[in-house]
Amino acid sequence: MEKLTPRQITSLHDHLLRLGLAPALVDELLDHLACELEQRLQEGLSPETALNQTLSEADGGAVRHLQETYRRELTLSDAELEQASLDDIVFQFRNKAYGAYDLRRSYPQALRESILLGVSLFVSFLFLIQTPGPATRLTLLSLLIWTVFTQTHLGRSSVRALRNAWPLP
């Protein structure tokens, strides 16, 4: 099958941008129109006619219809809004799979754990330099290790990984 030239792809892309298509849809619709254009070229239409037909099919009206349907379908319903967090609302029309959504959602937990860990490290350090005797130090150290491995996500997941890698009877 004949491939489209970069120029043909660019003119489709420009057309979509001119119509003000939402960024979330541009790449996908570009591929869609490019496929249609290829199909028309394969059917034997001249490059110019094929391009014009493809562009006229994706005119302002069709694209507006797409955007309206998109808004309607993807807007959270009232019931969903009641349950939604601020992150859900912020990411309503954004790519959640990219990673920022997960990072933001796990942020409160990460913050809690780092404060817990920071404070316990600091306090242990103070005690360690103040208290003599190996027994107290050992107790403090084991308390610290216990905190890390049971109270933080990082610790729990490493314990789980260790268990999987080295199954105990």
């Binding site: 489209l4 619709l29 591929d31 496929c35 349907t69 379908e73 799979a97």
Partner: protein, 116 residues
């Protein structure tokens, strides 16, 4: 009969897309419109305006996963079902069949009472 703009289609679009993905594992948008066109011999034509909102909605609901790949100088977005998506595909298909049966019994003319 032109089915593209009817109300029936709007309610069944998710069922169509989910079940196509269950058959073919991984598809991109244009491929879905072509598959629908071929299977129905042109009776059903999905416009991009109807298809992409549904695909993105399914993604938002966690029923499909997407992967983007570069093909011939442009990005192509492939869709595939998540485990929940597979279950939903089966469930929606069953619901639709049930709906058809109910509609048929509802709309069929009642049998003529026979004198006997």
């Amino acid at each position: 009969m032109e089915l593209a703009g009817t109300d029936f289609l709007r309610g069944t679009l998710k069922t169509i897309v989910l079940n196509l993905l269950a058959d073919r594992r991984r598809m991109y948008g244009y491929e879905i419109t072509q598959a629908v066109k071929e299977k129905t011999k042109g009776d059903l034509v999905l416009t991009f305006g109807a298809l992409y909102p549904v695909l993105h909605k399914l993604e938002q609901e966690g029923l499909v996963l997407t992967e983007s790949e570069e093909v011939d100088g442009r990005l192509r977005k492939y869709y595939s079902l998540t485990p929940t998506g597979s279950e939903t595909a089966i469930q929606k298909f069953a619901e639709f069949e049930h709906f058809i049966t109910v509609m048929r019994t509802l709309l069929q003319p009642p049998p003529q009472p026979s004198i006997g």
